[in-house]
Amino acid sequence: AQSVTQPDIHITVSEGASLELRCNYSYGATPYLFWYVQSPGQGLQLLLKYFSGDTLVQGIKGFEAEFKRSQSSFNLRKPSVHWSDAAEYFCAVVPASGNTGKLIFGQGTTLQVKP
């Protein structure tokens, strides 16, 4: 079945430590890939997106993500986490076939940052 999976529901890291949030997808053709962040009481903000080309994508707020076709993954990374990065992170896809622009989201990963 077509799906987007974020294996980690909750992650805690210390401020200044590195971060990696995992995302796997299951689609026949590589979909368009996205990472969004949602802070408490806020709407969703796009961090970065991958359509094609260079598999390492740079986003806002110092985030980057790497597309690995062989692993059907699109993991989000940040070298040094700040306390303000505490939020909910969602991986999302737009299927390549029958593309209407509809976003399909993973269940999300809650990031907690320890001082």
Partner: protein, 116 residues
């Protein structure tokens, strides 16, 4: 540039009551989306409009949910009657156009609905 506006921000109702949410997309955006986000889950598309026509409403519970986008600008989502399981955040998003070369969706702050 103004973002996507939604109102109200919070709503508490009792089950079997009716409720309506309003969304005003970014000016000039042809495509409007309503998503439902249940606590602990990612958002799920309820309905997508292109101008004032429906593109996708396959996951809209049509026995109780309805939506319209008159004149292809702002939109209203209604629930009648509400059930306990409708408690969620309702997110509105807009994009310049949909499909083809993907256009970024811009999200509003959402309406948090609690059904008692």
């Amino acid at each position: 540039e103004a973002g996507v506006a939604q109102s109200p921000r919070y709503k508490i109702i009792e089950k079997r009551q009716s409720v309506a949410f309003w969304c005003n997309p970014i000016s000039g955006h042809a495509t409007l989306y309503w998503y439902q986000q249940i606590l602990g889950q990612g958002p799920k598309l309820l309905i997508q409009f292109q101008n004032n026509g429906v593109v996708d409403d396959s996951q809209l519970p049509k026995d109780r949910f309805s939506a319209e986008r008159l004149k292809g600008v702002d939109s209203t989502l209604k629930i009648q009657p509400a059930k306990l399981e409708d408690s969620a955040v309702y997110l509105c998003a807009s994009s310049p156009i949909a499909g083809g070369t993907y256009n970024e969706q811009f999200f509003g702050p959402g309406t948090r609905l609690t059904v008692l």
